[in-house]
Every structure is written in C-alpha cells, then in structure tokens.
Amino acid sequence: MSEQQTEANGAPRDLVISARGLARHYGKSIAVDSIDFGIARGEVFGLLGPNGAGKTTTILMMLGLTEISSGEVSVLGFDPAREPLKVKQRVGYLPDAVGFYDQLTATENLAYTAKLMGLARAERAARIEAALARVGLAEVAEKRVGTFSRGMRQRLGLAEIIMKRAEIAILDEPTSGLDPQATQEFLGLIRELKAEGVTVLLSSHMLDQVQRVCDRVALFRGGRIVLLGTVPELAVRVLGAGFVVEVEAEGPGIARRLAMIPGVTQVETLAADRFRMTAERDVRPDAARAVVAGDGALRRLSVDEPSLETIYARYFQAQPTGDVRHAA
C-alpha cells in the first residue's frame, strides 16, 4: 500500500519509504533537522555524509528505534512510531559494526533472531541453511561466532536479512573495516539483493563503493540532506557539469568546433593537439563528429565520469563545516 507519487521526470514511482519534515532533537541539539526524501521500490539508495551528520539517527527513526521529534515517515505504508512491529517484520537492519553472541554458533545466532521473528520451527532450519549458503558461510555454520572475522560477521548479518526475506534492507556502514576482497564480495551480495527486488538503503563513507552500487544518493550534513539525486545529477549541481571529456586530435580550429557543440560549457587547450571539454552530458559522439567534420585526425577520446569523491570533496570544500554538529 505504497503511495503513488509522480516524480519530476513524470514517471509514477512506487515509494516504499517517504519522509516529510522528519526531525530528531536531543534537548537543544538537533541530530536530524527536518528532512524529506522518498525511496522507490527496488532502488539502492545511498546515505552519505560525515560521522554525526544524522544518518544513523534517520535509520533508527525509520525502524521505530528512536523517537521522532517532529515530522513523519512512512515505511511500506506503516508508521514506525505507531506500528513498529509491522515495520520491523518487513525491514532487515544490519547495524554499524554488528555484534553477535560469541559463545553461540552462526546457526544458533540466526535461530534466535528467527524465533524472535516468529518463524515456524520447520521453516527456520530451511531458511537459515539457505541464507548461510547464500552468503558463503555454510561451512562455518556450526562454528562459534567468536572465531569469525569482521567480514564473516557482516555477511552473517546480511544472512539474517536474507533469512527474514525483508522487503527493505537497511545497511549501516556495512563495508567499513573490511578488506578489499571482502568489500567486493559484500557489494556483490548487495547487487544480488537488488536483483531480487529488495530495496536497499546503504549508509557509508566509502564513496566509490556507494557510487558503484547506488542508484541515488542523499548527502547528509549537520542533520540535513543537502544533496539528493543520482551521481550525474549531483555532479551537474556541484561541479557545474557532469562530464569532462579529453580529446586528442589534430586539425585546424578544433577548439572552436568543440566549443560549438551544444551542452559544452568550456574547452581548455592543454597542448596543441589536446583539449579538455567540460559538458553537461556525454558529448563524446558529438566531439568525434565535430573533429571528423573538420577533417581532423581523432586520436583519443576519453571521459572522466564524475566521481562521487570529487563531488563530495568539492561540496565540503565550498561550504566549510563551520556549523556545530552534535553526534547523537
């Protein structure tokens, strides 16, 4: 029973989470300051921002685990403040640095949460086995979690969400502290979840990872969402342009021809035969056409996709963090 909302692009979207004016105050300090966002079904949504920017508080409010000071949020059509059990039945949560009972085995840990979820005995065993196999922990299912590495614990946490058959998976800093290979594996698992139609909310500092898996991102700062959209959209807003294309070509008046392409905002001449264009869209085909039309010899066309890292760095450079933030 998600509401239908028409986005700016005109396509109706099936929103699973929508927040309006959501805020959380601790006394006088403000952890989350009136934020609005909507997340569509099947989307991978990234929450970015420095520590203490309000990401985890937002997540906890969506789960009904912390009070909402003002505003409202609806998760799968339910109000987490009034109907937390219905929300928590359908949403899987992997907390930041998730912990397990070290003296219990992986299976026993999952069995405990499965019981809390209210799964029937017969279904429990089957689901636990399947979930552990999915995340590659089948061989250590009967080992104590105390012996597990950080990466294995994170995967076990994901197994819990898979076992729950959650419609929404909320992952708080799931890859922090993992080695590159474990991170790759984990991101692969997130993509698998997405392929199954699970909506994924991912909070992270690891910008390149977020960029690799997320459809849209929200940038938090001082309790507010300061930027929201797809990475190219953000690039246009922050960097002024989305694409930087480098052209290596020989021929007369190439710089002038390139500058005439619609959407190009700037052309720099780096060397006699090298030019850097800044554009709002991917102008490589037009650039190629322009060079060839002018009898030029095109040697190389390369595009720098805007990296989230650049956007992030530029944004925080432009607006120094002068405001006081209160870590919750």
Partner: protein, 320 residues
C-alpha cells in the same frame, strides 16, 4: 498514542535463550559451587549439633535452617548473605552487555518490543536463581531425612516452602537492582562494582550505622539508661532504619517463619506478653501474618526497582 501488537511478543524466546545462557555459563557454575559448599558446611555443623537432641524438638527440620554453630552462621544467614551475590552476578551485565556486544540494535530491529527483552532477561535470571534455590532446599530436606532420620511434618514443609518463596523474592530485589545498574551504566564493570558496593554497605555497614543514626534522631532518655534499659523510641527508630535494607527484611521474615516461637519482630513491652505461653509455637497462619509485611516489602522493592529500570530502558538510545 497506542502502539500496536503485544509487548510480550518474543518474551518466551528471550526467556529460553537467557535461561540457557545462564544455566550453561561458567559464572553460574562458580556461584553455585560457592553457595552449595558454604551451605553444606553450615548444614553439616547444624546436623552434628542437632543429632545430640533429636527427640526434644517438634520442628527439627526447621532447626536445620536456623541453628548456628560457631564459627559458622546458620544456613539462612549464609543464604541472606550469598543470595544477593548470586543475583548481582546474574544481573549486573544484563543490559549493558547487549550494548557492548553490539547486539542490542540487531535484536531490537526484530519484531519485538523492548519490554520483552528486559522482562525476558529478568524472568530468566529469576528462574535460574529459583531453580538453584529449589535444588538447595531439596538438598536440605534430603540431608535432614538421611542424617536426622525424622520425617518432616506437613507444617515444616509448608514453612520451609514459604522460606523458598521469600528467598526468591529477596533475590528479585537484588536482581532488579543489578539490572537497574546495568541499564544506568554502560560499563559492566562499573555496574558490578556499584552493585557490590551497595550490597556490602547494606549487609555489613548498615547494621552498624542504623543504631548510630537512631541515636542521633531519637536520643535515648537518660532515665532509661539509669534503669539499664533501652529507650523504646530509639529501639523503634533503629529497627525502622534497619528495615530499609532488604537483608533485614529477609532476616526478619525468616525468623518469623522458620522459628515458630517468634511472636513479634519489634520491641515488645512486658504487659503485651501477659497471658502468652512463652516458648509455645505459633500456628502456621499466625507466623505468616508476622512475616507478611516484610514479604510485601521485598515484593514491592522488586517491582519498584524493576519499574525504574523499565522506564530507563524504554527511554534509552539504542546506539552506543
């Protein structure tokens, strides 16, 4: 604003998990060994002194609980001292360990309320203590049968069963206190130290401090002192102050229930005893009446302390 669903959903799951954790934990094993070995030593002394005068006493089984043979205190006194230790041992890290292991938010993200988690933990620890005390109680009765050779009467069993129930509530007070401290303090070590400090204060220091305080509040009338008597006002104050300690409540209730000749727990004037057959045992119901206020005090203490930790826990932030 009313929340949907039952606050007790998941209670039995938490209860079973915590109970199995407690029963299989090394901590519990150590506490059990401590209590059983001390209690057995006290019982051994009691039995060896009782074997001298078996025929004379109508409440032989109850004597096993209350007789003290220097240097060892009686079985009940030892339990009065050690039950708090056991309860603190089971409760001091109930809530903060979930935070420290970072399991709290994961568990609370499951479809249960916090009520179920706290209540399940409390009931599981209380059940663990209940099981150990019941085992100990059966041990006493069994040893009494074997070494004294006198089968206990119905009233003796009833009185000792009341002992068991009051002892469980006495453990409940300390358990609630320990869980309250585990909610207040994020560090388990701090919670344990504070709990043990309160325990030592109430069992060792308070019995010394209470009379001094009573003297300060109600100074003894010199006329009583001249007669070599205690001022009743000071005596009453002393007792009221002592009763602030659950140890004293437990001790008094046990005195009333396990020593059937106990007629009153407070100071008594001689004229109030006129017509009383001294040394004659009171009926079971009358003894219960004497122990009733103390028992209610222990139950109330358990509930109040639990309510405090409940409110604190509900308002606590999930994240560390």
């Amino acid at each position: 604003m009313r929340r949907e669903g039952s606050p007790f959903r998941g209670l039995s799951t938490v209860f079973v998990k915590e109970l199995s954790d407690h029963v299989s934990s090394i901590r519990m094993l150590v506490l059990e060994l401590l209590i059983v070995s001390t209690a057995l030593a006290a019982l051994y002394e009691a039995i060896s002194s009782l074997r001298q005068n078996t025929a004379e006493d109508p409440f032989l089984l109850l004597r096993l609980f209350t007789i003290d043979q220097a240097p060892l205190p009686s079985f009940v006194a030892i339990l009065g001292f050690l039950i708090p230790l056991m309860a603190i041992g089971l409760g001091f890290d109930a809530v903060n360990s979930e935070h420290n292991r970072r399991t709290m938010s994961r568990i609370l993200a499951q479809p249960i309320y916090r009520d179920a988690l706290l209540m399940g933990k409390f009931l599981a620890a209380l059940a663990t203590i209940g099981i150990s005390l019941t085992a100990l109680w059966l041990l006493v009765i069994g040893l009494g049968l074997i070494f004294l050779g006198v089968p206990p009467g119905g009233e003796e069993i009833a009185r000792s069963a009341v002992f068991l129930i009051v002892a469980i509530f006495y453990a409940g007070v300390w358990l609630s206190l320990a869980m309250l401290l585990s909610t207040v303090f994020r560090s388990a070590a701090t919670a344990a130290l504070v709990a043990l400090g309160i325990w030592l204060f109430l069992t060792v220091l308070w019995p010394m401090l209470a009379p001094a305080l009573a003297q300060a509040i109600a100074p003894a009338d010199p006329r009583y002192a001249l007669l070599g008597l205690n001022d009743p006002a000071t005596a009453v104050w002393t007792q009221e102050l002592l009763r602030l300690s659950p140890n004293d409540l437990f001790g008094e209730a046990m005195l009333a229930v396990l020593s059937p000749t106990t007629r009153a727990l407070g100071p008594v004037f001689l004229d109030q005893l006129r017509g009383a057959v001294m040394g004659a045992p009171l009926p079971f119901g009358e003894s219960i009446m004497i122990a009733w206020p103390q028992t209610v005090g222990l139950v109330a203490g358990t509930i109040i302390l639990f309510a405090f930790s409940y409110v604190l826990f509900q308002r606590q932030e999930v994240r560390a």
